[in-house]
Subunit: 171 residues, 2 copies
Amino acid sequence: MSSFDQTPGVSPREAATQGFVFNHTMLRVKDIRASLDFYTRVLGFSLIDRRDHDEAKFSLYFLAYLDDGERVPEEADARREWLARRRGVLELTHNHGSETDGTVYHDGNSDPRGFGHICVAVPDIRAACARFEDLGVAFQKRLTDGRMKSIAFIKDPDGYWVEIIQPTGLN
Amino acid sequence: MSSFDQTPGVSPREAATQGFVFNHTMLRVKDIRASLDFYTRVLGFSLIDRRDHDEAKFSLYFLAYLDDGERVPEEADARREWLARRRGVLELTHNHGSETDGTVYHDGNSDPRGFGHICVAVPDIRAACARFEDLGVAFQKRLTDGRMKSIAFIKDPDGYWVEIIQPTGLN
């Protein structure tokens, strides 16, 4: 149930969609090592699966935030099922060779626009942003920029925007 | 812990990232009514928040899969916090007037490439795809197309790709 059920276009949930899960979002990345460094070291994601398609010259990397004490299943089929049942997975696609062949991916925020950003919620946004500064992370919008003083945007190695929010109000 | 910790670029999780949540993915949409119809009626998402910024001429719509019996908090601050703590939220941005002013958004899968797709996991992919066919949904890749017979891609009203997977193996 939602209090927005009267919004034009909105339909009540059909039984045929029971069990559907918004599992992941996929972004292409130029330099997978730089992206894994950013998403694990800077943002704290864990790499939870990797699938190499050598004949087609691409590899898929799946990242997520693990719960305390949670472990990635070792067995491939069990891991695939466990992964597919989760919410909040980030899939990075690395086309082999893109890190050296001049590939530049498009962040979606200049023409032609489309995709905008992903968003990570953090318990203490001021502390998180101070740490990002210390780590030399690129900012699209600092907390102090613009009108919205409670959100920030940092940029991943390809320039994709990562919104940073804090669930609770800032004092 | 992950069995992929030795992958180049991967770092162990730093304590400073405790409590981080991959909250949402944002896509711009041309016709919000068509998109809400697609994501609620076809895919079973619920609209869980709406934020109108009339002076800046845009509105944000947040969608997610609710758990059985779960209700959206009525009070705005409580709802915002509840929303920000979730995984697996889809944010749709509607720039007012885009539905009639010739705006065409870019799906990221032709040059300039970047964003690839979002993915919804379903309990029975054959039943889900048969229903999508019945509903007249556009397919990028049917189960029977190409080499990968266990996944499909449908297209939302803006042409963004939505991968459809089934967590368990197909018989």
